[in-house]
C-alpha cells in the first residue's frame, strides 16, 4: 500500500464548536485503493472530521486544507463533495422508510429527462447496483420492510450510483449482526479491488484489524498516530493503546458475583405483533432474574428480544395476550410505562436517538426526565437539584461535555448513550433492562459501562442485558437465555456458555442436550 499514491490529504484541520474544540490540527492521508480506518474514543472527533471532509461543515467553517487528487478542494455542501466522488454514509442511516429501494437509490439523482423520471431505466440500474452489493431483493420493496443489514447495503448501492471514488462509512456495522457485518466488510474489501478507497469508522476493533490497511488514531481531537497494518504487527491491543493512551489489561472489570434470591419472574409471556395479530412476537416465554444477577439475552436480530423487553416494560410494544409478572413473590401489574417505572423497572432502549432521548433537550433535563418526581416538591421541579444531580452523573460516568446545560444533540454517540444510562440509573431501578447498551461505544467506555452494570448488580439489583455481541454477553452475564423466533430456547450458566452452543440455540429450538 505504501507505494500507492495519496488521493486524499486533510491537513491541519481545526474545527470549533461553541465552547468545544472538536478537532485541533488533525491530519490524515488516504492512499488510492486502501481501506483506511479511523479509531478513537467517543467524542474524539471522528464523525466531525468526516463531516468536514464531506462538506456537511462547508469550507470556511473549519481551518486547514483538504487536498483531493492533488488539488485543494473547498466543498460547499454534500452535493459538491459527492460530485467529486466522495460519498459519506452517516452513523444514522439516511434512507426514507416509506419509499422503495429504487426510489431511495435514485433520490436526488433520478434518471430521466425534463423532470420526468424514467422508472424502467431506474429499475434496471437498481437491479445492477443491488447485484454489485450482493442483494437480490426486489427493487420495489419498501425500505421499512428490509432489515438494517440490507438497508446498509442499499446505502452503499446508492453511493455506487454516484460514481464513488472514496467511500466514508461511519460505524456501518454498529447495528448489524455478525453475518451482515461480515458481508458488509467483504463488500468493502471487494470495492477496494475495484479501486474504490474507503474510510471506515468503527468501535469494533476486530473488524478494523481484519480489513484496514492503515489506521489513523484520534484522541481528544488530535491525531495521535497512523499505523500501517499490513507492514507491522498491529493488533487490537496496539490500537487500544493508541486510543486511550494506555493498555487495557482486560475487557471486563473483575467481579465476584453475589447472586441472591429470585426476585423477578415472568411467566408465559405472550404478545402479538402490533399490526399483524396472527403473528406472535413473544410465545409463552418464562424467565427469572435473581438479586444481584446479570442475565443475558442472546438471539439474532429480529428474534424478539427487544419486543420481549419492551412489552414487559409497561406494554410499550405489541398487543398483550397473556402472561404474569412477579416481583418479590407478588404478582404486579405493568399496564403502562409509569407503572413499570414505579415498580422499579428501567429499560434502556437500543435506539437512543428515536426512543431514548429528546434531542431538543439539554443534558440536565434529560438525566432527570424519567423520574421528575424525585427532584420535585409537589409539582414543582427543583432545577438546582437537577443541575447538581446531572453534574454528578457527568463526573461519575465521564460524560464528555463542558457543561450539563449543553444540548444532547451535540454530544457524540457514545456520550449520548451515557446520558441515557444516567437517566435510567437516576430512577434507581430494581431491575434494569439494557438493550444493546454498548452499541457504538468505544472500548474504554465499554469497560466503564460494564463496570457500572456490575456495580448495579453488586448493589443487589437485577440486570438484564440484551446484546448481539456474544463475547460481551458471555463476559458479562451470570446466566444467559437464548431466544429464537419469539421463544426462549435455552438457558446457560456462565460456566456453560460457549459461543457455538449459544449460536445453535439462537438459530433453532433444539434443547440444551442436543445443542451440546
Amino acid at each position: 500500500m505504501v507505494d500507492q499514491p495519496v488521493i486524499l490529504e486533510m491537513r491541519s484541520i481545526t474545527k470549533e464548536f461553541p465552547g468545544v474544540k472538536a478537532l485541533s490540527d488533525v491530519s490524515i492521508a488516504v492512499r488510492a485503493g486502501e481501506v483506511h480506518a479511523i479509531c478513537g474514543e467517543n467524542g474524539a472527533g471522528k464523525s466531525t472530521l468526516m463531516k468536514v471532509l464531506s462538506g456537511v461543515y462547508p469550507y470556511g467553517t473549519y481551518e486547514g486544507q483538504i487536498v483531493y487528487q492533488t488539488e485543494e478542494v473547498r466543498f460547499r455542501d454534500i452535493r459538491s463533495s459527492e460530485a467529486a466522488g466522495i460519498v459519506i454514509i452517516h452513523q444514522e442511516l439516511a434512507l426514507i422508510p416509506e419509499l422503495s429501494i429504487t426510489e431511495n437509490i435514485f433520490l436526488g439523482n433520478e434518471p430521466g429527462r425534463g423532470g420526468v423520471i424514467n422508472w424502467k431505466e431506474a429499475k434496471k440500474r437498481a437491479v445492477q447496483l443491488l447485484a454489485r452489493v450482493g442483494l437480490r431483493d426486489d427493487p420495489d420493496t419498501l425500505i421499512k420492510d428490509i432489515g438494517v443489514g440490507k438497508q446498509q447495503l442499499v446505502e452503499i448501492a446508492k453511493a455506487l450510483n454516484k460514481d464513488v471514488k472514496l467511500l466514508i462509512l461511519d460505524e456501518p456495522t454498529a447495528a448489524l449482526n455478525e453475518n451482515d457485518s461480515q458481508h458488509l466488510l467483504d463488500l468493502i474489501v471487494g470495492l477496494k479491488g475495484k479501486g474504490i478507497a474507503s474510510i471506515i469508522i468503527s468501535h469494533k476493533l476486530n473488524e478494523i484489524e481484519q480489513i484496514a490497511d492503515s489506521i489513523t488514531i484520534i484522541r481528544d481531537g488530535k491525531t495521535i498516530e497512523t499505523l500501517d497494518v499490513r507492514g507491522g504487527d498491529v493488533n487490537e491491543d496496539r490500537i487500544i493503546r493508541g486510543m486511550v493512551g494506555r493498555s487495557l489489561q482486560s475487557r471486563f472489570p473483575d467481579r465476584t458475583p453475589h447472586v441472591g434470591e429470585v426476585f423477578f419472574e415472568v411467566k408465559n409471556w405472550t404478545v402479538q405483533h402490533p399490526l399483524v395479530p396472527e403473528r406472535l412476537v413473544c410465545k409463552n416465554e418464562s424467565f427469572t432474574v435473581r438479586k444481584g444477577e446479570i442475565v443475558g439475552f442472546a438471539g439474532l436480530m429480529g428474534a424478539g428480544r427487544t419486543e420481549l423487553a419492551m412489552s414487559i416494560f409497561g406494554r410499550s410494544y405489541g398487543t398483550f395476550v397473556e402472561g404474569q409478572v412477579f416481583k418479590d413473590g407478588k404478582e404486579i401489574q405493568l399496564r403502562n410505562v409509569s407503572e413499570a417505572i414505579d415498580q422499579g423497572l428501567a429499560y434502556v432502549s437500543e435506539d437512543r436517538k428515536s426512543l431514548g432521548l429528546n434531542l431538543l433537550d439539554d443534558i440536565k433535563r434529560s438525566v432527570v426526565s424519567a423520574k421528575l418526581g424525585k427532584i420535585s416538591r409537589g409539582q414543582v421541579v427543583d432545577d438546582f437539584k437537577e443541575h447538581a444531580i446531572a453534574d454528578e452523573y457527568r463526573k461519575s460516568l465521564r460524560i464528555k461535555t463542558p457543561t450539563v446545560d449543553e444540548g444532547v444533540s451535540k454530544l457524540s454517540g457514545g456520550n449520548q448513550q451515557k446520558v441515557v444510562l444516567a437517566k435510567w440509573m437516576f430512577t434507581d431501578p430494581d431491575l434494569l433492562i439494557l438493550d444493546e447498551p454498548t452499541r457504538g461505544i468505544d472500548v474504554g467506555a465499554k469497560f466503564e459501562i460494564y463496570g457500572i452494570i456490575q456495580q448495579l448488580a453488586a448493589q443487589g439489583k437485577g440486570v438484564i442485558v440484551i446484546s448481539s455481541e456474544l463475547p460481551e454477553l458471555i463476559g458479562l452475564s451470570d446466566r444467559i437465555y437464548t431466544i429464537f423466533e419469539g421463544q426462549i430456547t435455552n438457558e446457560f450458566t456462565s460456566a456453560e456458555a460457549e459461543p457455538e452452543m449459544l449460536m445453535k440455540s439462537m438459530t433453532s429450538t433444539s434443547k440444551k442436550a442436543e445443542a451440546a
Binding site: 461553541p18 465552547g19 481528544d220
Partner: protein
C-alpha cells in the same frame, strides 16, 4: 472574555433559547424606539400605552396558550371562534337570565373548559390531528356564536366591563399619579431584585457557576428601570385611567404560566411530548393527558380572552374574535417557537405578541391603513422566522447575529462556560466575541 457575551447574559443565562429570546427582545425595543421617533414621541405616552394594553391583552393571553399548544406539537385554529362563542353565552346569560357578572365569568371559564375537553378528546384520545379538530371547531363555534346571538349584538352590564375596560382605582393622597400603579411597579422591581438575589444564593450553595456580579446588577437595574418607567407612564395618564385590569390579568397569567412551563412536571412533559413523543412515553410521560391538557387549557384561555373582549367592547357580536388565531400563532412564532414543536417559551411568545402590537399601533399612529398594517405584519412574521431558521442553519442561534459582523468560524451566541471542560474552551479564540 467579558464584553459582548457577558452583556448578553443580562437577558439570559446563555442557553440557546434565552439567546434567541434576547434577540427578539432587542427587535421589540428597536421597533418601539423607531416608532417613538417616527410619531414624535406619541408611542410612549400614557394614553397610547394604555390603549395598546387594552387592545392587545386578549391576543397576548391567547398567545400564552398557543405557545404551549405549539410546543406540544399541535396548533389551534379555533381560538377566535371559541372566544366569540364563550362571549355570546356569557353575554346572553347576563342579559337574558340576569346572571350576576362574577358568576358569569365562572360560567365563561366553564364553557371554555368544556369546549377544550371536547377538542382535547379528539386530539388526544382519538388521534385526529389538531389542525383538523380545530378547523372544525373554528366553523362549529363561529356558527354557534351566530346561532345563539342571532347575528345581533348582545350588550353586557356595567359591572362586567371591569375586566376589559377597568383600571386600577385611585387610592391614597393625590400625587398626580395613580398610586396603586406606582406601588405595583415598585413591588415588581423588588420582586425582580429578590429573584436575582435568591437565584445567586442558591447557585452559590450548589457550587454551580455564576454570572459576574455586575451582570446581575445590570440586569436588575435595566429591567427595573424599564418597569418603573412604564409604571410612571401608566400612572400618569388621564385621570380615571391607569394600568388596565386586563393588563393585570395578563401579567398574572404570564407569571403563572412561565412558572408552569419552566418549573413544573407538567411543563416539562409538554416539552418532552413535543420534542420526541416516543421517547417521552418510554420515560413514563402520559402523552395523551399532556395533549388533552394543552388543548383544554387553550380553550379556557380563549374563553377568558373572549370575555375580556366583550367587556371592553360593551357587547358581544357575531364578528368577535375574527382572525385572532392568526395573531396568536404569529406571536408564538415570532417569539421563537419551533414550528415542529418542542421549543418555545411563554415569555418569547409574549414578546412576539408585543412586537405585533407595537407594529400595529405604530403604523396606525403614523396614519397607515389596515391594508398596509396587514402587509407589514405578514412580512415581519416571515422575516422573523426566516432569520431564525437561517441562523440555526448557520449554527447560530439568534437574531442578534444579524446585528454583528460575520465571522468565518461559524459564530454562535452560546456562551461557553469557562470553568469546566478542556483548556481550549477557556481560550478567547474559542468563542465568538466581536470586540
Amino acid at each position: 472574555m467579558s464584553g459582548f457575551s457577558d452583556v448578553k447574559k443580562i437577558f439570559g443565562g446563555g442557553t440557546t433559547s434565552t439567546a434567541r429570546q434576547a434577540g427578539i427582545l432587542l427587535s421589540l425595543v428597536a421597533i418601539v424606539l423607531v416608532f417613538q421617533f417616527w410619531t414624535n414621541g406619541l408611542t410612549l405616552t400614557p394614553g397610547n400605552l394604555i390603549a395598546v394594553v387594552n387592545q392587545y391583552s386578549y391576543i397576548l393571553i391567547l398567545a400564552i396558550g398557543m405557545v404551549m399548544v405549539i410546543i406540544a406539537g399541535h396548533i389551534d385554529l379555533s381560538v377566535g371562534s371559541v372566544a366569540a362563542f364563550t362571549g355570546i353565552i356569557v353575554a346572553k346569560a347576563m342579559a337574558d337570565f340576569d346572571l350576576p357578572w362574577p358568576l358569569a365569568i365562572v360560567l365563561g371559564l366553564v364553557v371554555g373548559a368544556l369546549i377544550g375537553a371536547w377538542q382535547g378528546f379528539w386530539v388526544a384520545y382519538v388521534g385526529v390531528p389538531a389542525f383538523i379538530v380545530t378547523l372544525a371547531g373554528m366553523l362549529i363555534f363561529r356558527g354557534g356564536n351566530q346561532y345563539i346571538g342571532a347575528a345581533t349584538a348582545v350588550p353586557v352590564p356595567e359591572g362586567f366591563t371591569v375586566i376589559g375596560a377597568g383600571y386600577l382605582p385611585e387610592i391614597g393622597p393625590d400625587t398626580g399619579y395613580n398610586n396603586l400603579t406606582l406601588i405595583l411597579g415598585f413591588l415588581a422591581v423588588v420582586a425582580i431584585a429578590w429573584r436575582e438575589w435568591r437565584s445567586r444564593r442558591t447557585q452559590a450553595e450548589m457550587g454551580s457557576e455564576m454570572v459576574p456580579v455586575w451582570v446581575s446588577i445590570a440586569r436588575v437595574v435595566i429591567i427595573g428601570a424599564v418597569v418603573l418607567y412604564a409604571a410612571f407612564l401608566f400612572a400618569g395618564g388621564r385621570v380615571g385611567t391607569s394600568f388596565p385590569v386586563s393588563g393585570l390579568i395578563l401579567v398574572a397569567l404570564v407569571v403563572a404560566y412561565s412558572f408552569l412551563t419552566r418549573n413544573t412536571i407538567i411543563g416539562r412533559h409538554i416539552y418532552a411530548v413535543g420534542g420526541n413523543s416516543h421517547a417521552a412515553e418510554l420515560s413514563g410521560v402520559k402523552s395523551k393527558r399532556v395533549n388533552f391538557f394543552v388543548m383544554m387549557n387553550m380553550s379556557i384561555l380563549a374563553g377568558l380572552a373572549g370575555m375580556i373582549f366583550i367587556a371592553r367592547a360593551g357587547a358581544s357580536g357575531g364578528q368577535d374574535g375574527n382572525g385572532w388565531e392568526l395573531d396568536a400563532i404569529a406571536a408564538a412564532f415570532i417569539g421563537g417557537t419551533a414550528v415542529a414543536g418542542g421549543v418555545g417559551t411563554v415569555i418569547g411568545a409574549i414578546i412576539g405578541g408585543l412586537v405585533m402590537a407595537f407594529l400595529n399601533n405604530g403604523l396606525q399612529l403614523v396614519g397607515a391603513g389596515a391594508d398596509l398594517v396587514q402587509i407589514v405584519k405578514g412580512l415581519v412574521l416571515l422575516l422573523a422566522v426566516a432569520i431564525d431558521v437561517y441562523n440555526r442553519s448557520q449554527g447560530r442561534f439568534s437574531i442578534i447575529g444579524i446585528f454583528r459582523p460575520k465571522r468565518r468560524n461559524g459564530p454562535s451566541d452560546q456562551t461557553p462556560t469557562p470553568t469546566t471542560g478542556t483548556p481550549d474552551t477557556a481560550k478567547p479564540g474559542a468563542v465568538t466575541v466581536n470586540n
